[in-house]
C-alpha cells in the first residue's frame, strides 16, 4: 500500500512542476529514485480502468508449416491438409501442430516428401516432426524478442509483453499516443542482416557531426556562449533524472581531464552548471563512453569525447563505445531522426547492441550497451540462413551456435569471411546487433560455428535470431482492445468515488447498528480492504473491473463474518449469559459458518484460476486473497479486540442489542 500512496504523492508533486523543466530536473535529481521505486511497487490499474491498448498476437503455425515446406514439393494434397487443419483448429483449443500431424498421417503421406532438415543427410519422420516443433516454438520466441526490442525504442512506460500459452503474445500498452505506429511495429517482419563492423575515426567524426546537428537545430545556440539560465533550462527539456545524474558524473570527469588546460570553458562553474553546459554543447557524445586499444592485443583504455574533435584521435587502432541503459532510449530516438541519418556518411550506420554487455550486475551499476558502426549495405541478408541451433563445442565445452546456409549463400559467405579474417561481422536483426563475432577463418561451405555466447540461454537467443532469416515468424493480431483516455478520466473518478461512498456507507451502517461492536467491525473491515489491496499490489497484480467485483464480494463476506459474530453474541447475551461467555460462545458458534462459506469460495476460485481466461482470473485472484484475509481479520482482529475489552474487566458492551431492563 505504501508505494501506491507514495507514488501518487510524488507524482502530484512532480506534475505540479510539469511546466518548469528545470525544476523537474532538480526534483528528479532529489526524488527520482524514490519515484521510480514507488512506481514499480504501486498497485497497477488494468487497462480497462485507465485506458490504453491491449493486443494479443498469435503465431500462425500453419503458415509457418507451409513456408517451411520445400516450395517445389508443395502440392494440392498438402494445401488441402493445411486448409482442413485450419478449419478444424480455428474453432477449438486443439494444438495446431498436433492436429496437422494427425491429419497428415491420416493422409498416408510421408513428411519426407515435403520437408527437409538441413543439417541431416537422411532425415526421418521423427526428426522432421521435431524440427517443426522447434520451428513453432522458436517462432514465438523470435516474435517476442523482436517486439520487445522495438517497443524499447519508444519511451513507453510500463509496457507489458508476455508470452501466453505456447503460441501467443500479449502486449499491454498504457498511454498509447500513436496507435498506428504501434500497429506497424507489431506487424512488420524483422530483417536479419550480416554487416561488417567499422569502428574507426570515421565513427567519431559522425558522432561529432550529430552533436553539431543537434546543437544547430537547437534555438538556444542563437544565444551561444552567453546562454542565459532560461535558455539552458529549455534545452534540458527532455532529460530524465538518470541523465542528469550521469551528467554530473561526466561533468566531474570533464573537469578533471581538462583541469590542466587553460581553455576549459567549464572551469570555475558549479557542477550543475557545468553539466548543463556540457549537455548543451555535446548533446550526443556526452552520453557515450569511449574505449581505445592500439591493437587487438592491447587493453582497452577509457577516453573522453568532451572538448575534443575527431582529428584528436588516432586513425589506427580499436575503438569501442558504450552507452548506459538509462540513456539508451534517448540515443535510439536521436538515431531514428531523418536529419540525423543524413549527416552520417552514406556508407556508415550507427546501431546499438540488442542486449546489455555481460551479465547484469546486482549492485545497481547501470547496464551498458555497445554501440557499433557498421557498413550501411549488408554483406549478406539473412534469407540465406537455412538452419541455426544452439549447441556445445566439444573441445572447450562452451555454448556455441551452429548455422547453416543455402549453397548460394555459402558461396558468398566464403568470399566475405575470406576477405574479413580477424575482422568483425555483426549479426543484425531489425537494426540491433545481437552478436559481432570476429571471423577466425574462411568458411567454405556455409556451416559456421559462432562462439562467445556467455551462456546456453544466450546461445539459444542467438539461434532464434538467426532463424529469423530462414523463417519469419508469421504473426496475426487476434484480439485488440483500445480503451480511450476519456474513459480514463471521468469514469474512473466516478467509479472510485462511488466505491469509497459505498464503503463509507457500510462503515456508518455497522456503527449505527452495532454501536461499539460496529466500531470494532469497522477497524477489521478497514484492515481487510487495505490488506487485500496491499496483497494484490504485493503480488504485482493489476486491478481490473472484474477485480473490483471480486473486491466487492470479498468485502461483503468480511462484513457478513462480523455480522454473524455480533448476531451470535447478541443471541447469547439475550439468553442471559455473561459478556465473557457470550463472546466466547458467539465466536465459536459463528466460526463454523464463517469458515465453511469462505472455504467454499476459496475452493471455487481454483478452477477459475486454472481454466479461467484473463478477466475471470483477475476476479478469482482478488476473491482468493480476500477470503483468506477475511478469515484472518474476522477471527483474529475482531476477536482480539473483543478479548481486550473482556480482559479489561468490562461486564457489558453496547453492540446495539436490545436493553434488558
Amino acid at each position: 500500500m505504501w508505494p501506491t500512496y507514495s507514488y501518487y504523492q510524488l507524482n502530484q508533486e512532480r506534475e505540479a512542476l510539469a511546466k518548469d523543466s528545470a525544476a523537474i530536473e532538480q526534483w528528479d535529481l532529489a526524488n527520482g529514485e524514490q519515484f521510480l521505486k514507488a512506481r514499480s511497487g504501486r498497485l497497477k490499474l488494468g487497462l480497462d480502468l485507465r485506458g490504453g491498448m491491449y493486443v494479443t498476437l498469435e503465431v500462425d503455425v500453419l503458415k509457418l508449416i507451409e513456408e517451411s515446406a520445400d516450395p517445389l514439393s508443395v502440392d494440392d494434397d498438402l494445401t488441402k491438409i493445411i486448409e482442413n487443419t485450419r478449419k478444424e483448429t480455428d474453432n477449438s483449443n486443439q494444438d495446431v501442430l498436433e492436429t496437422f500431424l494427425k491429419n497428415f498421417r491420416a493422409s498416408g503421406k510421408s513428411l519426407l516428401q515435403y520437408f527437409t532438415v538441413s543439417n541431416q543427410s537422411d532425415p526421418t519422420e521423427a526428426s522432421i516432426e521435431e524440427k517443426l516443433q522447434r520451428d513453432a516454438d522458436g517462432a514465438v520466441q523470435q516474435a517476442l524478442e523482436v517486439i520487445k526490442q522495438r517497443v524499447n525504442k519508444y519511451d513507453l512506460s510500463e509496457v507489458n509483453i508476455q508470452q501466453q500459452g505456447a503460441r501467443r503474445i500479449v502486449i499491454e500498452l498504457p498511454d498509447v499516443k500513436d496507435e498506428k505506429e504501434i500497429r506497424s511495429l507489431l506487424q512488420t517482419t524483422a530483417r536479419l542482416e550480416f554487416k561488417r563492423v567499422v569502428m574507426n575515426r570515421e565513427l567519431i567524426r559522425a558522432f561529432y557531426a550529430i552533436d553539431n546537428l543537434l546543437k544547430g537545430v537547437n534555438p538556444d545556440t542563437t544565444v551561444a556562449d552567453t546562454a542565459s539560465v532560461a535558455a539552458d533550462s529549455s534545452s534540458a527539456k527532455k532529460d530524465t533524472s538518470s541523465i542528469a545524474k550521469a551528467d554530473s558524473v561526466k561533468a566531474d570527469s570533464a573537469k578533471r581531464d581538462t583541469s590542466g588546460k587553460a581553455k576549459n570553458p567549464y572551469a570555475g562553474l558549479s557542477d550543475d552548471e557545468a553539466a548543463r553546459r556540457i549537455k548543451r554543447d555535446y548533446p550526443l557524445t556526452h552520453m557515450l563512453g569511449g574505449y581505445y586499444a592500439q591493437s587487438e592485443k592491447g587493453s582497452y583504455q577509457p577516453f573522453d569525447l568532451i572538448l575534443k574533435k575527431a582529428d584528436d584521435f588516432p586513425e589506427q587502432g580499436m575503438y569501442r563505445f558504450i552507452i548506459s541503459g538509462k540513456t539508451l532510449p534517448q540515443l535510439l530516438k536521436i538515431l531514428d531522426r531523418a536529419d540525423v541519418k543524413r549527416v552520417i556518411p552514406a556508407d556508415l550506420d550507427i546501431i546499438v547492441a540488442a542486449k546489455p554487455e555481460g551479465t547484469p550486475s546486482k549492485d545497481g551499476t547501470p547496464e551498458v550497451y555497445d554501440i557499433y558502426g557498421v557498413t550501411r549495405e549488408p554483406e549478406l541478408t539473412g534469407d540465406v540462413v537455412t538452419e541455426a541451433f544452439p549447441s556445445f563445442d566439444q573441445a572447450s565445452n562452451q555454448p556455441v551456435v551452429l548455422m547453416e546456409m543455402s549453397s548460394e549463400g555459402a558461396e558468398r559467405w566464403a568470399q566475405i569471411t575470406g576477405a574479413n579474417i580477424n575482422k568483425r561481422i555483426a549479426i543484425v536483426l531489425d537494426g540491433r546487433v545481437y552478436s559481432a563475432p570476429v571471423v577466425q577463418n574462411k568458411i567454405p561451405n556455409g556451416s559456421s560455428q559462432i562462439t562467445g555466447s556467455g551462456s546456453p540461454e544466450e546461445a539459444n537467443l542467438l539461434a532464434v535470431v538467426l532463424k529469423a532469416g530462414a523463417l519469419k515468424a508469421p504473426v496475426k493480431i487476434i484480439e485488440e482492445r483500445v480503451v480511450g483516455p476519456s474513459l480514463g478520466e471521468d469514469s474512473i473518478r466516478r467509479g472510485v468515488s462511488s466505491s469509497l461512498m459505498s464503503f463509507a456507507l457500510i462503515i456508518l451502517f455497522m456503527l449505527a447498528y452495532y454501536a461499539w461492536g460496529g466500531a470494532i467491525a469497522d477497524v477489521a473491515l478497514l484492515m481487510n480492504v487495505l490488506l487485500v489491496v496491499a496483497g494484490l499490489a504485493g503480488f504485482g497484480g493489476t486491478l481490473t473491473l472484474p477485480g473490483i467485483a471480486g473486491l466487492i464480494l470479498s468485502t461483503a463476506m468480511a462484513v457478513d463474518a462480523n455480522i454473524l459474530i455480533f448476531e451470535r453474541i447478541r443471541e447469547e447475551l439475550a439468553a442471559g449469559k455473561t459478556l465473557k461467555v457470550a463472546v466466547e460462545q458467539g465466536f465459536s458458534k459463528a466460526w463454523s459458518a464463517i469458515i465453511d462459506s469462505n472455504l467454499t469460495n476459496i475452493l471455487a476460485t481454483i478452477p477459475l484460476l486454472v481454466w479461467g481466461s484473463g478477466p475471470v482470473k483477475g476476479f478469482a485472484v482478488i476473491l482468493l486473497i480476500g477470503a483468506i484475509i477475511t478469515l484472518f481479520t474476522a477471527v483474529v482482529v475482531t476477536r482480539a479486540m473483543f478479548a481486550l475489552i473482556v480482559a479489561s474487566g468490562a461486564t457489558t458492551i453496547n453492540i446495539g442489542q436490545k436493553r434488558t431492563a
Binding site: 474453432n91 498506428k180 493480431i477 480511450g484 471521468d490 456507507l505 471480486g550 466487492i552 476460485t605 436490545k658
Partner: protein
C-alpha cells in the same frame, strides 16, 4: 439498533408454491430470453469489431450515425445507445484492426458533424477464435467451480445440502440473467453479456453460496440441539434464527451496490446493477429455494427407501 426481533415466521408451509412459482418464472423467463434478438452478447463472446464513441454536444442521432458509418463502407453496422445522450456503440462484423477502423469511423463522424466533438471511448476487435475460447473456458471453469461447491457442501453437511445449494445457485444466476436481459432491452443500462458481466455473475454465485452455507450451518447446529425434530420444523427454526443476519448483511451490501448503480458511472453501473439483482434473488433463494428443495429432496429419498424396503418384503 436492533431492527429484527426474534421472529417466528412460517417460511416452510407454502414452500411448494414459492418453489413452483420460481421454477415457472425462471423457465418462462428463459424461453423469452432465448427468443431471437433478446440476448445481446458482448463483443467478447461474438467476435467482431465494436467501437464506442461519444459526441460532446450530443448533436447526432442514431440514424445519422448509422448513415455516416455506412458512408465509409460499414453498411451492416449496428448502432446502440444507452441512456446517455450522444453516446453510441457501433458494432460491425468486419474484422480488422480495431485501432484503424475506429480511427476511420471517428474521422468520418467528425466530418459529418463538424460542430460537435467526437471522442473515441473505446474500440475492441476480437477474433472469433478468441471469443469461442473465452466462452468455452468460462463455461468449463464455472462448471467445475459449481461442482467443487457441491462437493464441499456435501462433504461438510450432506449430499442433499450440496444438491440444494447448487439448485439454488442455478436459480439465482438464471433469474439474474433473465432480469438483466429484459432490463437491457429498456436501453437504460448496457447489460449485454460480456466478460465483465460474467464477473458479476460470479459475484452472485459467491454471495449466494455464502448465504446458503450460513443457513445450512444453523440447520446443522439445530439438528444436534433438537434431536427428533422434523426437518421442515428444523429448517423453519433455522431460517427464523438467521433472519436477522440475513437481512442486515443483505441490506448493507445492497445499499453499497445501490450507490454504485446510481453514481458508479460507465465503469461500474451495469455491473453493480446485475449484482444488486442477483443478491436480492440469492437472499430469497436461501429461504425459499435451497430450503424447499432440501426438505423435498430429503422426503423423497426417505419415501423411496421406505418403498424399496416395503417392496422387497412383499
Amino acid at each position: 439498533m436492533d431492527l429484527i426481533k426474534k421472529t417466528n415466521i412460517d417460511f416452510v408451509t407454502k414452500r411448494n408454491t414459492f418453489f413452483m412459482a420460481s421454477l415457472i418464472s425462471t423457465v418462462v423467463g428463459l424461453i423469452i430470453c432465448f427468443l431471437p434478438g433478446m440476448i445481446e452478447l458482448g463483443i467478447d463472446f461474438t467476435g467482431g469489431t465494436q467501437i464506442k464513441v461519444s459526441f460532446e454536444k450530443a448533436s447526432a442521432s442514431a440514424d445519422q450515425v448509422r448513415a455516416a458509418v455506412s458512408s465509409i463502407g460499414f453498411g451492416g453496422a449496428e448502432i446502440k445507445s444507452f441512456g446517455k445522450p450522444g453516446e453510441y456503440l457501433i458494432r460491425i462484423n468486419e474484422l480488422g484492426s480495431a485501432s484503424q477502423i475506429s480511427a476511420n469511423i471517428v474521422a468520418s463522424l467528425q466530418k459529418s458533424f463538424p460542430n460537435d466533438n467526437v471522442i473515441l471511448v473505446g474500440a475492441d476487435n476480437v477474433d472469433a477464435k478468441v471469443s469461442k475460447e473465452l466462452a468455452f473456458d468460462s463455461a468449463i471453469s464455472l462448471a467445475i467451480a459449481a461442482l467443487i461447491m457441491l462437493l464441499y457442501v456435501a462433504f461438510r453437511f450432506q449430499l442433499a445440502y450440496g444438491f440444494s445449494a447448487v439448485i439454488a445457485l442455478a436459480h439465482d444466476v438464471l433469474m439474474a440473467f433473465v432480469i438483466s436481459v429484459l432490463f437491457n432491452k429498456t436501453g437504460l443500462l448496457n447489460l449485454e453479456l460480456s466478460i465483465n458481466a460474467l464477473a458479476a455473475y460470479l459475484t452472485i454465485l459467491g454471495y449466494s453460496i455464502n448465504d446458503k452455507v450460513v443457513v445450512f450451518d444453523r440447520i446443522r447446529e439445530n439438528r444436534e440441539k433438537h434431536k427428533g425434530m422434523p426437518l421442515a420444523e428444523l429448517v423453519n427454526l433455522s431460517l427464523n434464527e438467521t433472519l436477522s443476519r440475513t437481512l442486515v448483511t443483505g441490506i448493507s451490501v445492497l445499499a453499497a451496490l445501490l450507490v454504485m448503480v446510481f453514481l458508479g458511472g460507465d465503469v461500474l453501473e451495469g455491473f453493480a446493477f446485475t449484482m444488486f439483482i442477483g443478491i436480492v434473488i440469492g437472499t430469497y433463494s436461501s429461504v425459499y429455494i435451497a430450503s424447499s428443495f432440501l426438505i423435498w429432496y430429503t422426503d423423497r429419498v426417505k419415501h423411496k427407501n421406505v418403498g424399496v424396503v416395503a417392496s422387497t418384503k412383499a
